[in-house]
Symmetry: none
Subunit: 215 residues, 4 copies
Amino acid sequence: MIVKSLTSRGMRTRAALLRAGREAFDEHGYDTVRIDDVCARAGVSHGTFYTYFDSKESLFAEVAGAAMGEMFAASVVGPSAPADPYARIEAANRLYLRAWSANSRLMRTLEHAATADDRFGRLLMELREVFVRRGADGVRRLQEQGLADPTLDPRLTAVMLGGMVEHFAHVWLDLGEQADEETAVDHLTRLWARAIGLTPPSSTDARSSVLEEDA
Amino acid sequence: MIVKSLTSRGMRTRAALLRAGREAFDEHGYDTVRIDDVCARAGVSHGTFYTYFDSKESLFAEVAGAAMGEMFAASVVGPSAPADPYARIEAANRLYLRAWSANSRLMRTLEHAATADDRFGRLLMELREVFVRRGADGVRRLQEQGLADPTLDPRLTAVMLGGMVEHFAHVWLDLGEQADEETAVDHLTRLWARAIGLTPPSSTDARSSVLEEDA
Amino acid sequence: MIVKSLTSRGMRTRAALLRAGREAFDEHGYDTVRIDDVCARAGVSHGTFYTYFDSKESLFAEVAGAAMGEMFAASVVGPSAPADPYARIEAANRLYLRAWSANSRLMRTLEHAATADDRFGRLLMELREVFVRRGADGVRRLQEQGLADPTLDPRLTAVMLGGMVEHFAHVWLDLGEQADEETAVDHLTRLWARAIGLTPPSSTDARSSVLEEDA
Amino acid sequence: MIVKSLTSRGMRTRAALLRAGREAFDEHGYDTVRIDDVCARAGVSHGTFYTYFDSKESLFAEVAGAAMGEMFAASVVGPSAPADPYARIEAANRLYLRAWSANSRLMRTLEHAATADDRFGRLLMELREVFVRRGADGVRRLQEQGLADPTLDPRLTAVMLGGMVEHFAHVWLDLGEQADEETAVDHLTRLWARAIGLTPPSSTDARSSVLEEDA
DNA sequence: AATGAATGAGTTTTCATTCAT
DNA sequence: AATGAATGAAAACTCATTCAT
């Protein structure tokens, strides 16, 4: 589907469909959503849908792609991040939780769609890989600096601890596990840091710690 | 649907449908599976299906219920388990991975079905709660014995570390992350133990403490 | 679509759909016919249609195939045919007109469907080829016996004169050109015979020659 | 739809649509063609279509009407035609084949459209009638001059032999039957002439007779 | 005049479920 | 008990046509 020269009205409609689709997928998953639901939500007739998208699948691909982009962008610990390893881990965890808070349901839906459609499976694999690599690099760096247990496999460790954060995000945001963000971030960070053998913040008494992250 | 007095032939047919359903849900998720698929797999006509089940939903409820039972039973660290806390954690992790290896896909499917149907949502909640409580009890006991960081919230910690194991099981079994069981169990256990501040094995001879209790 | 073990009831339904389809295609061509029309005519729900056929296309393929078979079978000048060349031509023309009277509309429809779907195009080509070859063989044989103009190209002649008969059948049966069968057959035969230079009946006693061979 | 005073730009657009429609109908028949196809081909938006035509049907009516006009005009054996009957038949056949070579597909489409829409049926009837009458007149004249078998029914003969030419044009042009024009015209003419009992050329000097008259 | 966004009636197709045998 | 034929409610998708700009 080649969408040519959209007028501003067309762009508005397309955006409305995208937004409606995102909401619908968020609330009802993939299979359950009917094109008509999306159209009703966007306030257009179902005929109009096909002016902008080929199928439900292609709408979802776009919605999911955008969400993945957001996830990715939102979880980058920028260069202005603290130098202290512990603080960096904390910043990363906080960012990750926040990124998930906007996209958690959709990511689950994507994961489910992946079961039925390889295309989405591949999309998801790529995203995971980026995160895993990033985590593994972090672990490896700490090991090289003598700050983390050198006998741990960096990738495996990243998969496991990254999974801990991801899974918690899901449980917390989607399944309603009670916790306030501060406590959650604090626990995740302490568990993560200690798990790899990172000595808690300052060599003195590690009670609180923390610095902030970048946007 | 009240199925009364099944003849042995009837029981065989019912079992075949159950098995076929389990396989089908495992391979294709929930929405995608058609009753006809299940019947074909079980070698019965679709008419027969309704002799034993009310609907696809009720078949799935039964399949999922059975899987949850298995999961639950399989992950109990029995009385013959070691007394050493570290060894107990290790045993629990190993059991957990094994239990998941048989039910991982189905659990994902159940989780997905929960999105669409509250009934499954509640089922899943209960299962989670059992595991979380068990984990939290374990952490609390270690804290009481002075073997684990007393400032950690037991429930939150159990949610997070339990999630780590569960998520890894998924990544490992469903998404094809490479790792052999020994290494996986070893890493999970080390990360878990150190995360809560449990001094690695050898050091002390842990006399009593437990992480897992029998059901 | 593999139709397995049809019960007699199933066979009846299938036959009803086939008959209904045949009628509908006869009356309304291909594109205009809706599956529901066929079902209504057959007195079954549209769901039932798909128990027996994959699509409108596959129904038509079967209907058309059957019609072609009939056409073919019906137009064979059997061994009991007269030996006299002129009489043979006459017999062939009469048979051909009769075969067309049952299938004319459908053949037009098939020809039209061929425009849109290559599959039908190929089907039609084959049918034509059989008739053309038969006709050409007949002409050639008469030429060899010195009964027909030897300078005519047998195939081209068969295409043209065969076309004359076919086209007349269409005009007569579908477009309502008035003529009684006797006169029509008589004219077609005289035109055909004289066109190839065959001396009209009586004159010589043609012992053997043939225009048509048995299948 | 009354289109009043078209500007030259309007006329250009209209002509473009007509040309595009003609091409599209030629290639894809009637039902298959979408208004959008025509518009795309003409390089205008689909909205514009309705400035010039009421519907697909009315576009086709115009396209078909024009084609019929061409057919008719092109097949007139003008006053400069030879006086010799055989030569006149030959000229008529050649003209007919040529006229068909430009309109063959469209005529088939028209014939098919006639199945669905009476309006086109009537249009077609009229065209046929003109040709048939012309042919019948020609035959009658030859009979009156003692050059053709007087026992033949003029109309029926014209229908049959005219059909031979028409059908051959279709087979040759649309279905790919191989033949070069010279041979085709030669065969058609010989078959036609001999069929009605017209003594081949040379023999006598046919002074007057005509098969075709100017419109 | 031209554009292209919007509409919605019309069709095909799927599949859970019922029912006669 | 088992079968498989029949049903019909959904849902996706197409496309001629209208209309605001």
